[in-house]
Symmetry: C2
Subunit: 254 residues, 2 copies
């Protein structure tokens, strides 16, 4: 039997420590192909390069391991890498480990999760991993341990159709983590702010900043789980339809 | 009573005829603020500008009408425009009219729909409109007529929480259109292809191309509706959780 093919990407780019942590997490579980963005691609969501060219460059190769960077977004990495870096369909796509949370509404903005969602669209079991720690020297040891367990499980059992996993790890020491909660996305929001500045030519420009604002702390949410030192797993769907309101809208006469 | 505030954006950029069609569609329904991307932003999905600056420039102003371009993505237009182009919360966000379909899985890649989804996250009734015709000189007359009706309805009645509308118009003459269907997103896919070319320095590069591939032609889908000359309306949720599989995954022991 052929070894499973594990495809790895991220949105923090090929130099991110979180990518190295994820490679370590799945080491030895199969043949590994890394296709990561050349540069940081945080907040790129499901963006796709359609109006310019893409490049793909091999940067490392050893037994059962090959690594490329791609000039595009995380979704470009999955799509272009899927065509040009490998010759068979991956058995698993893992994305991350992101430096910072992708829980709650962040799933919508995240390039890490977009790569996993793209995998689910293509029918490949896919998982996005994120650690609630933005720092360059974040401690990924807990994340590595659990990412490996989750990857082994998904390789063995697959995932429901049209569904990938959004896994977030609390910023914690190992002995404080209580376990895993499978939960729903908290319906939170961002309180955006724009910092207004003048350039040397006296023209205004803006920087986005802001605070995460959550008023949905029900116990079945990812935010609750993470605040209570659990690892959160949200099954993310590629069907964005709000099925519950279809009948209500049908009565909406025009 | 103050006139409703209608916020307009798109992803084809400020020069797109589809944007002018949408401005025409909502003319006279309230105070209008346009904040559109300076350049085309197709396929940008929910991408957000976090690592560089944004600019916002006023380009036209008359009674009850003001128009800006923003250097960012459609979501940047909604976020930055919401802070710096207006002083009250919009009563309605309309996005489009996109040159080309955003039905089915295209909702995930679409900048037009991302702007509407961002509106829904912010609790603003929001609608994305798209016409199944990519050409510069597409005939928007049917789309204008129905976009106006739908906008009037949503201004009067609002939308369910965390939900925006994905409206697609078939490429058809008026008298062939049979009406509106409220439906679900077809679970289709793209057969991507990458065209490989050599640059003048003999290095490879790639262009994304491909074909839309739909095997989900159930009668309750947007693809069925559009193929049968109906206008499709899909309610799109900002909760990406696949609630149906949560219990199944809980039994997934680690």
């Amino acid at each position: 039997m052929r070894k499973p093919l594990i495809f790895i990407t991220n949105d923090d780019g090929i130099k991110a420590p979180g990518l190295r942590a994820l490679i370590e997490a799945v080491k030895g579980l199969g043949e590994i192909v890394v296709v990561a963005p050349e540069n940081g691609m945080s907040g790129m969501s499901h963006a796709l390069t359609v109006s310019t060219i893409l490049r793909l460059k091999e940067v490392a190769k050893e037994e059962d391991y090959i690594e490329f960077y791609c000039t595009g977004t995380p979704v470009d990495c999955v799509k272009l890498g899927g065509h040009k870096a490998i010759t068979r369909k991956p058995d698993l796509i893992v994305s991350g480990i992101n430096h910072g949370s992708n829980s709650s509404i962040n799933v919508i903005y995240s390039g890490t999760m977009a790569a996993a969602i793209e995998g689910a669209i293509q029918g490949i079991p896919s998982i996005g991993f994120s650690l609630l720690d933005h720092s360059e020297n974040a401690d990924f040891s807990l994340a590595i341990e659990y990412a490996r367990k989750i990857a082994i499980k998904v390789l063995a059992e697959g995932l429901p159709a049209f569904t990938c996993l959004n896994v977030n790890f609390p910023k914690n020491h190992k002995n404080e983590v209580k376990g895993i909660k499978v939960c729903r996305q908290a319906m939170a929001d961002w309180d955006d702010e724009y910092v207004e500045t003048l350039d040397p030519h006296h023209h205004k420009y803006f920087w986005l900043t802001g605070e995460f604002a959550n008023s949905d702390m029900a116990e079945d949410t990812d935010e609750w789980a993470l605040s209570n030192n659990y690892i959160s797993i949200v099954p993310v769907h590629t069907d964005y339809t709000n099925h519950k309101v279809i009948n209500q809208l049908k009565s909406f006469e025009l």
